[in-house]
């Protein structure tokens, strides 16, 4: 689940009178993730250390001159490159104090931008579409520059991408309402031209963003009507007749963002990773019409992952470097750290989550689909933070920093220290902030435990599971680790809180629980709620035998012994019925509790069935006996579910009975000790069928009840008007 952290201010904006312009020309990465170069729209370039929110140095061109493109940092030569007055390329080093004294070269054509991606050489893109490597340009500054564009074609946006083998310049142009995408490869130089599909007439893309993955350029562009399209362009060109013809660029609608009233004016969309897009300048879907939000959308699930209100005007500018977003808004340039961990549908939605138990417990941090898409002001998604909470958070340190320390700590430190640190961390920070890192913490802990047999931190793991930010997909080895270390309490918690435990793991748990000797089981300490539930259930063992749905277990004894009188085991069964074995819980208290957890996990029977077949016949019989016991308890008047405790439902029990019978039918038929059990189940089914058929008989009359018209109430006296024709 992606998250936006508390932001901070990098610098103020020297906004001009007309507020349409932020005054910032560009933000470029510098030597590492903590340094950026900010170029303002007039004369100065400033180097910042981001985490310190502090300018390190600044350069200014002479009055009368103007910087026409944002300065870039060439990490190979440790030089800065900028262009002033469109034609003068300036190159300087950090030690240079005065720009005027630094290197200058005047070229023969107007420069659009200088690009320099990390690991690539600086490239100069001219306004008429020509591209030169900076080195080759400087070797002959006055060399003639060809015109690539047609008349009235103007460049709108450009970027530079370095792949394994190529350096690419991507830029878009506009010509009489048509938009084109150019893909310029360097060494060897090839140019490919694509035509963008037209959106509604009069709408031009507001922003572009490009990323590279698997030999394809992924282009993302946002239109004023909130549509975010995405197109994929192969890096390897088509070859022969390049640039001759503008190919149509296929596109697909990635997101249809809510735009509120009217069209968007200043907005921007930025690719964060393959599944996330940051969008600024759009309204939050659950926070009214104001368009001053920064949001992270998951494009796979079309869900809003995080949102943040940005105070002041949004200029539709957005840069993102190394997990930080740079947004000019109002009178400041803010830095907002973000995180986009790999997201899974399970963690976004949960798998067959029991809504009933959710309500009673603390709210989860996993918002429901409905909340995200349709839900409104009543519960604004909790990631929308108001000013108030933001001020509260200011006093706290940014958790992402400490997390890294702890992660390191887990890998090496002794058990006690790790546990202590984790307790401190978990008690200190808001779970919401912690959420993305919980998965990392847990998987680090688990992998350490797996590697190091002596290392195991049950309480910390339990605490992490309790945060409800974990799910099985995030930390796939946790349950098995718990089983291996016989930490049944943790198993119980996982079964309770993980929505997406695979059927194989569920079955492994079941197997472990059922084969565990009762003596061992009693030593386990378990969650108190579930214990009290089972205690009440077992306390009623000697209670009066109730009659539910016309089925009384005892009334069928006669019938059963009739059926068995031919068989040799008749006497044995009769002896059994005399003591009513089904009224006594066949397993111990704690074992029963653990089995209950298994019963309540979500599963798909198709996947569960093959794993169930691995159970031995003794275990199957025992489990069936337990299920029968539960069924009888539930059939009697006392309905444990009424107490509001988490307990398996009657349908869950019946489903499991069916599954077990399906998986082991032949074995059970052949097993003599299962005979009584099977006959019991047979009578259950018969009584149920009878009930259902009786209900079926009155179905018609019940339908009629629905159809009955509500008659108008006529009192003792009324004066009415009628008309006769």
């Amino acid at each position: 689940m992606a998250a936006l952290y508390e932001g901070y201010t990098l610098c103020g904006l020297a906004t001009s009178q007309n507020l349409s312009n932020s005054g910032i020309q560009g933000v470029e990465a510098e030597r590492d993730s903590d340094h950026v170069v900010v170029t303002d729209s007039t004369r100065s370039v400033t180097l910042y250390k981001v985490s310190d929110q502090k300018p390190l140095s600044s350069w200014t061109v002479k009055q009368g001159q103007i910087l026409t493109c944002s300065a870039v940092y060439n990490s190979q030569t440790k030089e800065y490159v900028a262009v002033s007055d469109s034609k003068v390329i300036r190159i300087w080093k950090e030690e240079d104090i005065l720009l005027d004294k630094a290197f200058k070269a005047t070229v023969s054509s107007d420069v659009w931008r200088v690009h320099c991606a990390a690991g690539g050489e600086p490239v100069v893109l001219f306004q008429r579409g020509a591209v030169r490597l900076l080195d080759s340009l400087l070797s002959a500054p006055q060399q003639p520059i060809e015109e690539v564009f047609a008349q009235e074609e103007a460049i709108r946006w450009s970027t530079n991408i370095v792949t394994e083998s190529h350096q690419l310049i991507i830029f878009t142009t506009e010509q009489k309402g048509d938009h084109f995408l150019y893909l310029q490869r360097l060494n060897p130089n090839t140019l490919q031209r694509y035509r963008l599909e037209r959106e509604e007439p009069g709408l031009s893309p507001l922003s572009f963003s490009a990323s590279y993955r698997d030999k394809h350029i992924r282009l993302l562009y946002l239109y004023p009507n909130g549509h975010v399209y995405h197109s994929v362009v192969p890096v390897r060109g088509l070859g022969a007749d390049e640039g001759a013809q503008a190919l149509p660029l296929p596109r697909s609608l990635l997101l249809d963002l809510p735009v509120g009233e009217g069209l968007l004016e200043a907005a921007s969309a930025q690719i964060l990773d393959e599944a996330h897009v940051a969008v600024v300048g759009l309204p939050h879907p659950s926070a009214g019409a104001g368009k001053d939000f920064l949001c992270i959308w998951n494009t796979n699930f079309q869900t809003l992952q995080a949102g943040k209100e940005m105070a002041g005007k949004i200029y539709g500018q957005l840069w993102g470097y190394s997990n930080k977003l740079f947004i000019p808004h109002g009178k400041t340039l803010s830095v907002i750290p973000y995180e986009c961990p790999k997201s899974s549908l399970a963690s976004a939605l949960g798998k067959l989550r029991q809504a009933k138990t959710e309500e009673s417990k603390a709210p989860t941090s996993v918002p429901s689909w409905n909340n995200i898409l349709h839900e409104q002001k009543a519960h604004p998604s909790r990631t929308v933070e108001t000013r108030k909470t933001r001020t509260n958070h200011k006093s706290q340190s940014s958790p992402s920093l400490t997390n890294d320390h702890i992660l390191e700590l887990i890998k090496t430190a002794p058990i006690e220290e790790v546990q202590k640190e984790l307790v401190v961390l978990l008690s200190r920070t808001d779970i919401q902030d912690l959420q993305p890192s919980v998965g990392q913490l847990a998987s680090t802990l688990v992998s350490r435990s797996l590697d190091d047999p002596a290392f195991y931190t049950p309480s910390s793991l339990a605490q992490l599971v309790y945060t409800r930010c974990l799910c099985h997909s995030v930390c796939p080895d946790l349950v098995l680790l718990a089983l291996e270390r016989k930490d049944y309490f943790l198993c119980q918690l996982c079964l309770q809180f993980f929505p997406d435990i695979p059927e194989a793991v569920t079955c492994a748990c079941l197997k472990a629980f059922i084969s565990m000797p009762d003596v061992d089981a009693e030593k386990v300490s378990l969650e108190p709620d579930s214990v009290s539930l089972m205690e009440t259930l077992m306390a009623r063992e000697r209670g009066p035998v109730g009659l539910q749905n016309g089925f009384s277990p005892t009334s069928n004894d006669e019938h059963r012994s009739d059926a068995l009188s031919g068989g040799g085991s008749g006497a044995e069964v009769e002896e059994k019925t005399a003591t009513q074995p089904e009224q006594i819980c066949p397993v111990g208290l704690h074992k029963a509790i653990l089995l209950n957890e298994v019963l309540q996990t979500a599963y798909s029977d198709y996947f569960l069935l093959p794993h169930l077949k691995d159970l031995s016949s003794q275990h199957v019989v025992l489990f069936l006996q337990y299920l029968q016991f539960l069924y009888l308890k539930y059939s009697q008047n006392a309905f444990p579910q009424m107490q509001g405790l988490r307990s398996p439902s009657l349908t869950q029990i019946m489903d499991w009975v069916c599954l077990l019978l399906d998986a082991h039918f032949t074995v059970l038929v052949m097993t003599p000790e299962a005979k009584g059990l099977m006959l019991n189940f047979h009578t259950f089914v018969k009584s149920q069928v009878r009930l259902v058929s009786e209900l079926g008989k009155i179905e018609g009359s019940l339908h009629e009840l629905n159809k009955m018209k509500v008659k108008k109430e006529i009192g003792q006296y009324s004066i009415e008007v009628i008309e006769l024709f």
């Binding site: 004066i719 009415e720 008007v721 006769l724 024709f725």
Partner: protein, 683 residues
């Protein structure tokens, strides 16, 4: 046609009482019916089941059994008296004390000479039928325990008597009990309770059929005194039995409200050994079926739920005819509501009191379908309890609202009302001739009161402050002795029309105080009559739903009436099964005749064409959906409104608003005692 403001009144708490006994005279096709309050009703089954006569009840008269002896009607009840009724003057003729404690049943032998009476003290008493009275003859051997039911053998020599736990057969001549048939008690908890043989039938082949409180219908051989067959019919009681005249079918009524039919059939074709087979079950009642009659074509049943149900046996009638339709009689076939048109007052007649109400008011105007805000609520002005033990038989309120009159079979009372300050004064000095009345009517100017008296005569009384003066007695020339059941005085004060149950309609000229004319007698009994205020045409509606219009001055049927007879009424109109109980006119439009039955009211526009056989009779919905220009093509004379149901009364007030008094059957049902508990699914 127009809009009407309708006062929809539901505060008339009319509550019919339970049916206790019935007797059917197959010669005259009259059904006599006794209710729990002692009232007797006579229905003419030959004339659309019209309720011809009502003899009001009396406190303390609990009729348990009814018996026709020729045209004479006898009843007996738990007060220990046998009563013969005067069906011409609608009152008991005389009563005879039987001196045997409460009487449970009476039965006449087939020769109609001896009336057997079963008494609480264990005796069966024989009364000889004489011309004018009955005379005690002798007792049969006295038994221990009450005798509940009785049945004569058709030969007249034997009597079967149902008792507690047993049936006895008596020799009618010697008075000795010849057989004793023991009736088995119910099983389970009711084992300790005596079984009551509620009803018994003695067939000419000496078969005895009994119905008892254990829910059994049993067939006995009366010669040998042996039980032939037991049919367990219900968990509760079998209360009534009735046998068809040809002794091939028996019906049994139970406490569950069902009627079970048994038929004497051979089990296989062309074999002669017939036996009693249970064939059909009818469920038309919600409560006990206390009284049953098996006529030739139908089963007539009645009981606690107060409705008389005529259920035709479909093997005896032609299918899909009017005859084959189930009929329920829920309301009396006469009006219990009187309306003072000018004053906006309603008079409700109950057996033991009268209620006078003032209608509410509303100033609002609304479009059709609206309910208007009620600005003044309706108000009960007076509740007048009757004096004496006889129940009220008729009542009237003058159109101005200033006079109120009611009559029982023994007394007549007239009151002067002052509505402004709500006072009621009894008029003490009454003419001697005004002893009792069958029907009352005020003239439209409230200056005269007409009271129908003995032998179809009408007493005319002038009303003046502070007393009233006898003016005249109008007597018919025909010499009919039947009571007048309809009276109507014309608006202009010139005419008085009367109708009696002999189907005679007489019109008197009030100025000359002379009989003006006799309307040609029609075979069906008139159910409503009215004289048009301007044209002086008499409109008569009969029990068979026919409508006639008779011009009084010309003494002939009007053109419209002839046209109607020539073309015939619409079949759907004729198929209605409740009689028109009131006719009135619209003073704003002389062509409008307003009439109503229990389920609809109708405005007949005489200026419009009559409905053809193929046209839709109930066409208000269609007309509503049509644009105004097309309505005239589709409209016909009968404007029927079914918005209001279970109508007790529909009147047009002088301010041109309608008053509709409804008494929903559901409301009546809800006031009945709880029926016997029956297992229903999921209860």
């Amino acid at each position: 046609m127009g809009e009407f403001k309708v006062h929809r009144v539901r505060f008339f708490d009319y509550m019919p009482t339970a049916i206790r006994a019935m007797a059917f005279n197959s010669r005259t096709e009259r059904l006599a019916l006794a209710r729990a309050d002692g009232a007797l009703e006579i229905f003419n089954f030959a004339d659309n089941y019209f309720q011809e006569k009502v003899i009001p009840g009396q406190d303390g008269r609990a009729v348990e059994a009814l018996c026709w002896v020729g045209q004479r009607l006898f009843s007996a009840g738990l007060n220990g008296e046998i009563t013969e009724y005067d069906l011409e003057n609608l009152r008991p003729r005389y009563t005879v004390e039987a001196y045997g404690g409460p009487i449970w049943n009476i039965s006449i032998n087939s020769q109609e000479t001896l009336l057997a009476v079963s008494c609480e003290d264990g005796t069966v008493k024989m009364f000889e039928i004489l011309e004018e009275r009955i005379q005690f003859q002798r007792n049969l051997d006295r038994q221990k325990g009450r005798i509940i039911s009785l049945s004569w053998h058709p030969s007249g020599t034997l009597i079967a008597a149902g008792m507690m736990d047993m049936i006895k057969i008596f020799d009618a001549e010697s008075g000795r009990a010849t057989h004793r048939l023991l009736v088995e008690r119910g099983v389970g908890a009711s084992k300790s309770k005596e079984v009551v043989v509620w009803s018994i039938a003695f067939l000419s082949d000496h078969t005895i059929i009994s119905g008892d409180s254990a829910g059994k219908v049993q067939i006995w051989d009366g010669l040998t005194g042996t039980l032939v067959r037991t049919h367990l019919v219900t968990k509760w009681d079998v209360l009534a039995l009735s046998i068809s005249q040809d002794e091939s079918s028996v019906v049994a009524g139970t406490s569950e409200g069902t009627v079970v039919q048994f038929q004497f059939l051979s089990s296989t074709v062309d074999q002669h050994d017939k036996e009693w087979v249970r064939t059909r079950t009818f469920k038309n009642h919600s409560h006990d079926v206390r009284a049953l009659v098996h006529t030739k074509i139908a089963v007539v049943s009645g009981g606690m739920d107060t409705q008389l149900v005529v259920r035709p046996l479909l093997d005896k009638v032609e299918k899909n005819t009017q005859e084959s339709a189930l009929r329920k009689v829920a309301f009396p076939h006469r009006s219990l509501v009187c309306c003072a048109k000018k004053a906006g007052l309603l008079l409700f007649q109950f057996p033991d009191h009268l209620e006078l109400w003032r209608l509410g008011e509303s100033d609002g105007h609304g479009k059709p379908g609206d309910s208007l805000p009620v600005e003044r609520k309706p108000e009960k002005l007076i509740q007048l309890k009757r004096k004496g033990e006889d129940h009220i038989c008729c009542s009237a309120l003058s159109p101005c609202g200033g006079w109120l009159a009611y009559s029982t079979v023994t007394s007549f009372r007239l009151y002067r009302l002052q509505n402004n300050n709500i006072s009621i004064t009894k008029v003490s000095k009454l003419p001697k001739d005004l002893r009792s009345a069958h029907q009352l009517c005020f003239s439209s100017d409230s200056s005269k009161l007409f009271a129908s008296s003995n032998h179809s005569s009408v007493v005319v009384v002038a009303l003046n402050q502070p007393e009233c003066k006898y003016l005249h007695t109008l007597k018919p020339k025909s010499g009919s002795r039947q009571p007048v059941h309809l009276l109507f005085a014309s608006e202009d004060g010139k005419w008085l029309a009367t109708a009696n149950t002999d189907c005679e309609i007489l019109v008197y000229n009030l100025e000359k105080l002379k009989l003006h004319c006799t309307v040609p007698v029609y075979s069906s009994c008139p159910t409503a009559i009215a004289i048009h205020p301007t044209t002086s045409n008499l409109v008569v509606v009969h029990a068979d739903q026919q409508i006639f219009e008779y011009a009084l001055v010309k003494k002939e049927y009007t053109e419209w009436s002839r046209k109607l007879q020539k073309q015939g009424l619409h079949s759907l109109w004729l198929e209605r099964d409740t009689p028109i109980t009131h006719v009135t006119f619209n003073p704003k439009n002389p062509a409008h005749v307003i009439l109503h039955d229990m389920f609809m009211f109708c405005i007949i526009d005489q200026s419009l064409p009559l409905p053809e056989a193929k046209t839709l009779l109930y066409n208000q919905m269609t007309l509503r959906s049509l644009p105004e220009s097309e309505r005239i093509i589709h409209s016909h004379a009968f404007k029927i409104c079914k918005n209001f149901q279970h109508l007790m009364c529909v009147r047009l007030l002088d301010d041109h608003s309608l008053v509709v008094v409804e008494r929903p059957l559901l409301d009546i049902m809800s006031q009945l005692p709880a029926p016997v508990r029956q297992k229903k699914f999921a209860t």
